[in-house]
């Protein structure tokens, strides 16, 4: 739900690793596999070209990549802009505008080797100047006010040569490298919000508010084997989910991202489905500073009382991964296994814990949910009926999302809520929201050990050790019953028969360049 441009990477160490070595290998294998698959599909009468029509539920918030905050917008516009790196399906970093990078011994300076011969959509050449321009803008080096807090840690950025650039950080931050997938924009071009220009596989063609966003193929794309196969992609803005299903049924839409199980049932065999975990965490957030909930026994009792499987079966039609902590197995490198059954549903035990805490007769609990999200509202209804069994009298209070942001997320004026957080590639961004002094720690989780574990994780250079620290943090969160971590609902994308190439990423990403019609 909350979106940022900073996604992340996983498997890189802080010592100077030449990304070119391992990563170009991975790109090679990838382009090979694409080569073979497209090669063979050419024989099977693949037709290049064509127009792909997406149904999008939300409007574009801003065409300017630095001003946009909506996940849907960035998923679309990500195809217009390339960053120094990109992510693959496993959440690993792969080179885009940069070929490789080196990190200094003290971990404070990053040297990026850039690709040569890349052109922006306006025909201008890409060089180190553009990276300096883009990062200076994000970090607010000239104005003193960062446009994006994730880049506030940059102290300076310098051009070494036309294709080499050095970024210096204020302090060690193992999460920084993952943020380099942010869009690089041509220097001194200030019209991004009207006519966006990037170096990505697609060019911006037009945007009509409330109607559509159209991208066209960039035939001169610099990455080999990644030149788009379709000519044009149209994102149709369709606010009503049921209408978009009907539109797909009538053959007026080719891709429907984020379709429900019921929608798929309605479409039947007329579509192909790509689906998988989306690296999301849906949780029943418990305000640890609210009366009864400040008692760990009450929080544990709630965890024992809730039957996640039944919620998954009902609300997500069984298409979700059960969670035990604030982490999805979609990022398996950092994922602590086995927590999902830490609190096996056990009403007796829950009642006993409630009694120990002095709440044998239960208490009233307000459950605030953003009414714009039917999924959460449905979950809340199930939670209310399950918690009734241990005498917790849940009162559902649906509020508009904008009010939710203000009251719950910003001011933490609530007792409990249901919400989900979309996937981030950097593990710190996922679990970091429970650090006691994090400004948006709306759960009011306060645990010294947890704080110190995460602090060392950020400073840890060894990748393996870093992963262990993040795993430990997840375990603490579960043991302390910080909240009820429910599920990672699968994301399903329906595609018209004959359209192939869509892949699932640990973040919401539309790899338009791989799409092609095969019949």
């Amino acid at each position: 739900m909350k979106a940022t441009w900073a996604k992340g990477l996983s498997y890189l160490t802080l010592t100077s690793i030449l990304l070119a070595g391992c990563a170009s290998n991975s790109t090679k294998t990838e382009s090979e596999s694409i080569g073979t698959s497209s090669g063979s599909s050419i024989e099977q009468s693949a037709k290049s070209g064509g127009v792909v029509r997406f149904a999008m539920a939300t409007e574009v918030d801003s065409l300017d990549p630095y001003q946009s905050a909506a996940t849907d917008t960035s998923s679309m516009m990500d195809n217009v802009f390339d960053g120094l790196f990109d992510t693959n399906e496993k959440g690993e970093l792969i080179p885009n505008l940069a070929d490789s990078y080196e990190i200094s011994e003290d971990g404070l300076t990053y040297m990026f080797q850039l690709k040569e011969g890349v052109k922006f959509h306006d025909g201008s050449d890409f060089s180190a100047e553009d990276v300096v321009y883009s990062y200076s803008k994000l970090a607010g080096l000239k104005t003193g006010e960062p446009m994006n807090s994730k880049f506030a840690g940059i102290s300076s950025i310098e051009v070494v040569s036309d294709y080499e650039v050095v970024v210096s950080l204020k302090e060690i931050d193992s999460s920084f490298i993952a943020r380099n997938i942010v869009a690089i924009v041509p220097s001194d071009y200030e019209q991004q919000s009207k006519q966006p220009i990037g170096a990505g596989p697609f060019k911006f063609k037009e945007y009509k508010a409330g109607q559509q966003l159209v991208l066209v193929k960039n035939a001169d794309y610099y990455l080999e084997g990644k030149t788009p196969k379709v000519d044009e992609v149209q994102f149709k803005i369709m606010p009503d989910a049921q209408s978009s299903i009907l539109a797909m049924q009538a053959g007026e839409i080719d891709v429907l991202p984020g379709i429900t199980e019921q929608g798929l049932m309605q479409l039947g065999d007329s579509v192909e489905v790509v689906s998988g975990p989306q690296n999301m965490v849906q949780l029943m957030a418990l305000n640890n500073s609210f009366g009864p909930l400040s008692d760990i026994r009450v929080r544990q009792a709630i965890n024992y009382a809730i039957d996640k499987d039944s919620i998954i079966d009902t609300v997500a039609e069984g298409k979700a991964t059960k969670l035990g902590s604030n982490f999805s197995p979609a990022m398996d490198f950092y994922f602590e296994e086995g927590l999902e059954n830490f609190y096996e549903t056990n009403i007796e035990k829950a009642k006993q814990l409630m009694a120990e805490a002095g709440f044998a007769d239960g208490f009233d609990l307000q459950l605030t949910v953003p009414s714009d999200y039917q999924f959460h509202v449905d979950t809340a209804q199930m939670l209310a009926s399950q918690l009734q069994q241990i005498n917790i009298n849940v009162k559902i209070e649906p509020i508009e999302f904008s009010t939710w942001l203000e009251r719950v997320y910003t001011n933490a004026e609530y007792e409990s809520t249901v919400i989900s957080f979309t996937g981030k590639l950097d593990p710190f961004e996922v679990v970091g929201r429970f650090v006691s002094d994090y400004p948006k720690n709306f759960v009011k989780f306060d645990n010294e050990k947890f704080d110190s574990v995460l602090d060392s994780a950020v400073k840890e250079k060894d990748e393996k050790e870093k992963a262990n620290l993040y795993k430990e943090a997840q375990r603490i969160l579960t043991e302390e019953a910080g909240s009820v971590f429910i599920m990672d609902p699968d994301r399903s994308i329906a595609m018209a028969n004959g359209l192939t190439g869509f892949k699932m990423f640990p973040v919401q990403k539309y790899n338009l360049e791989d799409l092609e019609f095969t019949e």
Binding site: A209, G210, S243, Q249, E252, S402, E406
Partner: protein, 314 residues
């Protein structure tokens, strides 16, 4: 002339009241609008800047006058979400809603009037009762639900019309007509029922009038009585409900545009409400209300032209 002057003065008084209602409704919004608009990651500095931009620090009277001044100067302020002048956004959206409204009113007239006449002429017969009860279903059906049924039937199963979207008239006339037909029908169904009910009642009332009896006595055929006299006199009162129908049509488009993904004013209104784009909502509501008043004003004048017997009533 005196009538016109009176009507014009009431017209302006109404618009003034509308502007006051809208302005004060939006003053009651709980909390700090600037904070709500900027959302979660807003920094104090941004909030203060936006407060100034919205003029939230000026006294209400001053803000009201500024707003009214802006309206007269064609400056409705900037949308916070789209960051463009509200007036430009409205210009984009108005053709869609207007096309929808006009087509829907045409459908109402084309379907409603003949059907109303038929039901009135066959009054008392069993099929007339069934028909009139059936048409009343039109008022009873939730419009968005009817919209779905139309899409399912005519767009998905029969494929006669597109399921969604908007084609400008200038691009493809037939395409535009097709894209507006189903949503217009979904809005019109309520109004068709209203017209039928009203027309049936007025025709029946007229039939009891003395002149009809006289005509019958004179030996005029039932047909010529109905079409020559009754209908003419019955249709004039129908004009008076046109104003109400137009308001309903515009109201209906708010919901139906969301069902059919049409980028009109209604769709915009819902979008701007979810994003708390107050300058846009305020102007949008004002625009729609003024539109309704203007149309009513025109209907009023037309009514007077059609039926000179109407005199100025208090």
């Amino acid at each position: 002339m005196k009538y016109f002057l009176y009507k014009a003065s009431t017209f302006f008084a109404t618009i003034m009241f509308i502007s006051i209602i809208i302005f004060f409704i939006f003053q009651v919004i709980p909390g700090n609008p600037a904070q709500i608009i900027l959302g979660i990651d807003a920094d104090e500095q941004q909030v203060i800047q936006l407060e100034e931009k919205l003029g939230l620090n000026n006294p209400p009277m001053e803000r009201y006058i500024d707003w009214i001044k802006g309206i007269f100067q064609g400056d409705l302020g900037d949308s916070l979400k789209y960051q463009t002048p509200v007036i430009e956004i409205l210009q984009d959206r108005i053709p869609v809603t207007l096309s929808l409204a006009i087509l829907s009113i045409l459908l109402t007239v084309i379907i409603g009037i003949p059907l109303g006449i038929l039901i009135a002429r066959t009054d008392g017969k069993w099929y007339s009762v069934i028909l009139s009860t059936l048409t009343q279903l039109g008022i009873a059906i939730p419009s968005f639900w009817f919209g779905f049924i139309l899409i399912l039937l005519f767009a998905v199963l029969l494929k006669w019309f597109p399921t969604f979207g908007y084609v400008p008239w200038s691009e493809d006339f037939v395409g535009a007509f097709k894209s507006f037909f189903l949503p217009s029908l979904a809005i019109a169904v309520t109004n068709i029922a209203v017209v039928i009910r009203y027309l049936r009642n007025t025709i029946l009332d007229q039939s009891k009038m003395d002149y009809v009896r006289t005509a019958r006595v004179k030996g005029l055929s039932e047909r010529s009585i109905v079409y020559g006299h009754v209908l003419r006199n019955a249709l004039i009162p129908v004009l008076t409900i046109m104003g109400m129908i137009i308001a309903d049509t515009i109201g209906g488009s708010i919901i139906i545009e969301n069902v059919f993904a049409l980028p009109g004013l209604g769709n915009l209104l819902i979008q701007s409400i979810t994003s708390r784009d107050f300058p846009l909502i305020q102007s949008l509501v004002m625009y729609i209300a003024i539109l309704v008043v203007v149309i009513n004003f025109i209907v009023d004048l037309l009514y007077r032209v059609v039926d000179p017997r109407i005199r100025l009533k208090g």
